[in-house]
């Protein structure tokens, strides 16, 4: 095969591979981050760095949760280029509760229900435009939701 043709095919192949590769932040679930027993370690494990406080994150969660087994939480933001959202319950045995990976089609507005073992700050972490942001709310729990 002529050298130019081989070089052309190689560059086309590489280009195709790059386009075909899913542009996800996470190739797989960051298991270690979910096992981390400290909120900062969990965030660093999941996102590779600490977050800075932001007032552009809307964290909707009750001030007082009657039932710690089912605490509704909604995280939304109008920030541009949101790549991922995470919910961290600081005083839980393993603080990282959930992570949501966005795609170009996503709207940065997710809701989930979480378990809280005891009263705790709950942090919403948002990765947007390559940077990490967070917002936190203190949630009081009447009956803890982790054990029997």
């Amino acid at each position: 095969m002529k050298l130019q043709r081989r070089a052309l095919l190689r560059s086309l192949f590489t280009a195709a591979a790059v386009l075909a590769a899913p542009r996800f932040l996470f190739a797989a679930r960051p298991d270690a981050a979910f096992e981390a027993e400290n909120a900062d370690a969990a965030i660093t494990g999941a996102f590779d760095g600490p977050a800075t406080e932001s007032d552009q994150i809307m964290l909707k969660i009750p001030d007082i949760a009657e039932n710690g087994a089912v605490v509704p939480v909604t995280v939304s933001t109008d920030m541009a280029d949101v790549e991922a959202i995470a919910v961290v319950v600081e005083n839980n045995p393993t603080p990282l509760a959930a992570m949501f990976e966005m795609t170009p089609q996503s709207v940065a507005d997710v809701s989930v229900r979480i378990k809280m073992g005891e009263s705790s700050p709950v942090r919403a972490v948002v990765k947007a435009g390559g940077k990490l942001y967070s917002a936190s709310k203190e949630v009081k729990v009447t009956i803890g939701g982790c054990g029997g």
Binding site: A97, E101, Q105, S106, V107, S111, R113, K115, C146, G148
Partner: protein, 104 residues
Amino acid sequence: MGKPIKIRAKIKGDIAEVKALMPHPMESGARIDADTGEAVPKHYIKEVVCKHNGNVVLNSFWGTAVSKNPYLAFKFKGAKSGDKLEISWVDNTGDTSVSETTLK
């Protein structure tokens, strides 16, 4: 095979608002069975994938702190009546469930 996922979706303009309910025990491994006195083993959904017409619109990773019978609400752009929405999950035992709905 896990239990089917209940999906409610509505389109507002260009955006689909989806609410899903997934029956699942979501055991954290911390709960003690009252009868046996032993901890109930971990049994929880680890990953949830939401697809619109075959394209992933949301990829979720969960830990043991997501509540039993998980509720998930999310939104995505580019939705039209007749489009397909598929939600699937995998749990830590390898069990899976997939449910599909057509957007109205």
